[in-house]
């Protein structure tokens, strides 16, 4: 059963296939046929006489000859005209000046007439030239006409062959027409046949005509109203035209090949191919003579061609570097959407100042810097490798701790999500800003804290560089600002969750070499960017877009130089690429300086805060000590009073008993001892107090020490919260990139290395720069608003931060050991290497932390008090 069915099905299939083949074949045949009979439509413009019937009927002849048909014209009997003769309409027939003038063909006719004559008599001239006999020629044509198609089809192959064979001799004959005349005529005729169906019955090969022949043919033409070398020139012109026609036909055929609905793409490709070589003149409005306009137009055209996409890619890149790789990926989509949405919008809207600008900036700047640094490192592979390998485990552990810590950040993410929900509709700037600041600080903090302690000079150097770059990029950020602000809402929420998943690990090793070789980046800032981007984005997006981005940044830099506070929209002018490097330095320098300045300020402020805090603590201690002393004094007084009383009693007793001296002496000794004791106890008490104080102080100091360096992560988030816990630092694990950067990139042997400070500066400076960017930009109000906002944010942040800390404390306690262990290990390692600068000593710190973890609540309240005051 099954088999029969199968067989049947197969049979059917076969049949269908056969039918298909049949149809295909038939279609092919049909097309062939039509192809064969296809011709230029003008070739159908032919006039054909048809044989006229000659009536033999005498009656008709009689009627035709009857005089009734004829009538005299105008009554003149001598002129008989037909009854339908046109002359009947004429009142007067002009006397015929019928001197058979031969002047008709004088040859001095206008060019148009000569051309017409050429057209009229071309063949005749040619035949004259070739000595073709009239009769034969006409007969040939007649045959062709009558039996042409038939004869052709029959003898097509033969003729083709004959033609091939005859081709050369024919040409030869042509060129030497005198000798050949008799023999070749037949050939020629045949040739003509062939030619005629090519619809150009010109047998003379113009290219083969020598000057004599040309002269001869021209003389032949003279008989047909052609003068000079008209014929020859017309002939050549004709040839050219024919060539053009042929080309056109070829094109047509090619086009016809792509007929049908399916081959639209091919047709389009063909059209494009045709248009490829053509230089398209710019539209009238764009075609300006002024030379100054030229570059602009060029740039515009360039931007038009790639404009949207590179900008997008650029955006993407920038963002990327900001948060981390994963961030970029997440943001990519919404941004694209955004840009698309923007695309329809006017340019002005894009370039309009908005709060989001700086953020983009910062990120871009940062990425750029990293890129440069890293690229520089890459150029010196040997040291990097070693460092990288060393730093890798560290970074990994770090990242892991982060991941775990991130899991704790579910609350945070919740917050985010809630934010996001609100954001979607009412995109209040402050909200996103806050978020931004948070994320930024997170990313920035570790580095800044780390690097702070390092020696300054290189750091400054780098910071300058960074600043430079950021300023250079600043011009560009504005255009993106909008889109950025919008997409942020979506990306941030996802970021919090997805950050932990990936990207940390692979990034850290490649970024790590950065610190080890601080000098190279300075030397070659530009190329590294690309490489950096490329490597970074290697897995996510294409490198080409990155490269273009890099170019763009460079361009932007140039713009920046020319007009430091210029808005992006107009920043299209492209100066030569040659001055790129030199140009780039200046804005960077400026940036650096600014950053430095800001950093210094921040640093000072931090110091001041520290001092204040210290003072306060001192005061407290003092107060306590005073209190103690007072109490001691009171005690002593009381003692003395008691003693006095006793003495009085004794005296009384003495007076009464008389053993006062011993007692007194005893008392005195006792009293002295007491006093001593008292003092001792007081001392010890004060000592213990002071110890606690000192411990607290040490704690605070350590916290401060780390706060200036390590806590600054948090502080940068909190902006000024120095005294807040360092333990939270771990918890507030910055985005993987930066953390890994700062951690891994630190060269262990050089604890107080120059980079650290710079790094700190960089981190801070970035922030500061970011904050202060608005002032530098023209779009003051937006950015100014932003800076203000950031302040507010700080406060918000602080609160949030504390809350989080509270929340986290128990978490920390739970998982603390693991963290601690890892961190200590790292720190110890660092400490062994001598990186005192960061934390006093790992042991102490750890101890402190442990104690802190136990009594977190208190310490927080304690430490936070001054902060709030501040």
């Amino acid at each position: 059963m099954d088999r029969t069915m199968w067989h049947e099905a197969r049979k059917q299939e076969k049949k269908i296939r056969g039918m298909l083949v049949d149809y295909k074949k038939r279609a092919e045949r049909r097309r062939e046929y039509y192809e064969k009979i296809k011709a230029d439509p003008t070739q159908f413009l032919q006039l054909h006489g048809r044989p006229c019937k000659i009536h033999l009927d005498p009656s008709i002849a009689m009627a035709g000859d009857s005089p009734a048909n004829m009538m005299p014209w105008q009554g003149r009997a001598d002129i008989l005209i037909d009854r339908f003769d046109v002359r009947a309409h004429l009142d007067h027939i002009p006397e015929r000046q019928s001197s058979p003038e031969v002047s008709a063909m004088t040859g001095d006719e206008p060019l148009e007439d000569r051309q017409a004559n050429y057209e009229r008599y071309r063949i005749l001239v040619q035949n004259d030239f070739l000595g073709v006999v009239e009769e034969k020629f006409l007969h040939q044509i007649y045959l062709e006409e009558q039996f042409g198609p038939v004869g052709k089809t029959n003898t097509e192959e033969k003729k083709k062959l004959a033609e091939k064979k005859a081709a050369i001799p024919y040409n030869y004959e042509e060129s030497t027409p005198i000798e050949i005349e008799e023999k070749e005529k037949e050939d020629e005729e045949e040739e003509e046949d062939d030619d005629s169906d090519i619809d150009f019955d010109l047998n003379v090969d113009v290219t083969q005509l020598g000057p004599e022949q040309a002269h001869e043919i021209n003389s032949c033409g003279a008989a047909y109203g052609l003068c000079g070398n008209d014929f020859y020139s017309f002939l050549t012109r004709d040839l050219e035209e024919q060539e053009a026609l042929r080309l056109a036909r070829e094109q047509e055929e090619e086009k016809a090949m792509y007929s049908g609905r399916k081959s639209r793409r091919e047709r389009r490709a063909f059209r494009e191919k045709r248009l490829l070589g053509r230089k398209i003149s710019p539209p009238s409005y764009a075609a300006r003579e002024s030379p100054t306009y030229d570059p602009y137009r060029k740039s515009q055209s360039k931007s038009r061609s790639r404009s949207r996409s590179p900008v997008n890619s650029g955006q993407i890149t920038y963002i990327t570097s900001f948060g981390g790789e994963e961030e970029e990926e997440e943001e990519e989509i919404p941004k694209k959407e955004d840009s698309r949405r923007k695309g329809s919008g006017s340019q002005s809207s894009l370039s309009a100042p908005s709060g989001g600008g700086p953020s983009r900036h910062l990120s871009s700047k940062k990425s750029g810097n990293d890129g440069s640094v890293q690229g520089g490192a890459a150029s010196f592979p040997a040291p990097n490798h070693s460092v990288a390998s060393k730093s890798r485990p560290r970074s990994r552990s770090r990242s892991r701790s982060q991941t775990s810590s991130h899991t704790s950040s579910s609350k945070k993410s919740q917050q985010y999500s809630s934010h996001k929900g609100g954001r979607g509709s009412s995109r209040s700037p402050c909200s996103w800003r806050r978020r931004y600041s948070r994320s930024r600080s997170r990313s920035v903090s570790p580095r800044s804290q780390r690097h702070y302690r390092r020696s300054r000079d290189p750091g400054r150097e780098r910071g300058r560089e960074r600043r430079r770059r950021s300023s250079s990029l600043s011009s560009r950020g504005r255009s993106w600002s909008r889109s950025r602000s919008r997409h942020r809402s979506s990306s941030s929420s996802s970021r919090s969750s997805s950050v932990r998943s990936r990207g940390k690990r692979h990034i850290s090793p490649c970024v790590s070499p950065r610190k080890s070789s601080p000098s190279p980046p300075k030397k070659q800032p530009t190329p590294p960017i690309r490489r950096y981007y490329g490597r970074r984005k290697g897995d996510s997006s294409s490198s080409s877009s990155i490269e273009s981005d890099g170019d763009e940044t460079e361009k932007k830099v140039e713009d920046q130089k020319s007009l430091p506070v210029k808005s992006v929209g107009t920043g299209m002018g492209n100066t030569g690429a040659g001055i790129k490097l030199q140009v780039k330095m200046t804005p960077q320098e400026r940036l650096k300086k600014k950053m430095q300045y800001l950093l210094n300020r921040q640093y000072k402020a931090d110091k001041r805060a520290e001092k204040m805090k210290q003072e306060k603590q001192e005061q407290e201690r003092q107060d306590r000590e005073d209190e103690l002393r007072e109490m001691a004094i009171k005690l002593r007084r009381r003692e003395r009073e008691r003693r006095h009383r006793l003495q009085d009693d004794d005296d009384e007793d003495d007076e009464m008993g008389g053993s006062g001296s011993v007692g007194g002496g005893k008392e005195g000794s006792m009293g002295g001892k007491d006093e001593e004791n008292e003092g001792h106890s007081a001392n010890s008490r004060s000592c213990s107090r002071s110890r606690s104080h000192s411990s607290s102080r040490s704690r605070t100091q350590s916290s401060r020490s780390s706060s200036s360096s390590s806590v600054s992560s948090k502080s940068s988030r909190n902006q000024q919260s120095h005294s807040s816990s360092h333990g939270s630092r771990r918890r507030y694990s910055p985005p993987p990139n930066y953390s890994s950067n700062s951690y891994s990139s630190r060269p262990p042997p050089k604890p107080s290395g120059p980079n650290s400070y710079h790094g700190y500066h960089g981190g801070r400076g970035q922030y500061q720069h970011y904050q202060n960017y608005p002032q530098s930009s023209r779009a003051g109000h937006g950015y100014g608003g932003y800076s203000r906002m950031s302040h507010r944010d700080r406060n918000d942040y602080r609160e949030e931060y504390y809350n989080r800390d509270d929340y986290r404390d128990d978490r920390y306690n739970r998982n603390g050991s693991e963290y601690r262990g890892r961190d200590w290990g790292r720190e110890r390692e660092r400490g062994n290497k001598g990186s005192r600068s960061r934390s006093r000593s790992p042991d102490r710190r750890s101890r402190h932390r442990r104690s802190r973890s136990l009594s977190n609540q208190r310490s927080y309240s304690h430490s936070s008090r001054p902060l709030v005051d501040y």
Binding site: T42, I54, M62, A63, G64, F84, D85, R87, I141, E192
Partner: protein, 203 residues
Amino acid sequence: MGIMFRNTFQSGFVSILYSIGSKPLIAWKTTVKNGHIKRVTDEDIRSLVLDIIGRNVATTFIVCPADPKVSLGIKLPFLVMIIKNLKKYFSFEVQVLDDKDIKRRFRFSNYQSSTHVHPFICSMPMGLKSGWNQVQFNLVDFLHRAYGTSYVETLKVQIHANIRIRRIFFCDRLYSEEEIPREYKLYVNQPNEKPTKHKTQSL
């Protein structure tokens, strides 16, 4: 300058050349070189026909109107010629005016096998059967196909050498053989009649 028949009512048939009658070429200008233009009695129809023979097609012709500055102005769309194929080079040309006010020349030659369309002249092949032929030329159609314009009027008709002409006329439409007036038909003169002079008649 002058337009001969523009203001006349044109319908049916308008004959511009009939080989019978007196002075058939009175409105034509003849140019002869190494040839002749004369009325002869054709042996097939035993009647007078105009015989234009020249060694050079280009230099022997008749043109109507005779004055080059004057045009015919015939608006009828069909040009019909009753001519005899002499198996020699033959050509004729019609100059028409189209609605773009451009003069177009239609050149028909029997020595040509392909059509060439140029802005001011369109040269086309013309095939004639042996013996007497009736050639019907649809001016409107040709003008449209060659130049994409529409026909206004015929300005000039020029008949070159090596042809025998019985009649040339315009008509508003194509008529069948039955509809055609009897004198527009070709007929053989009765043999009983006195044979016409084969000879030239002064034109």
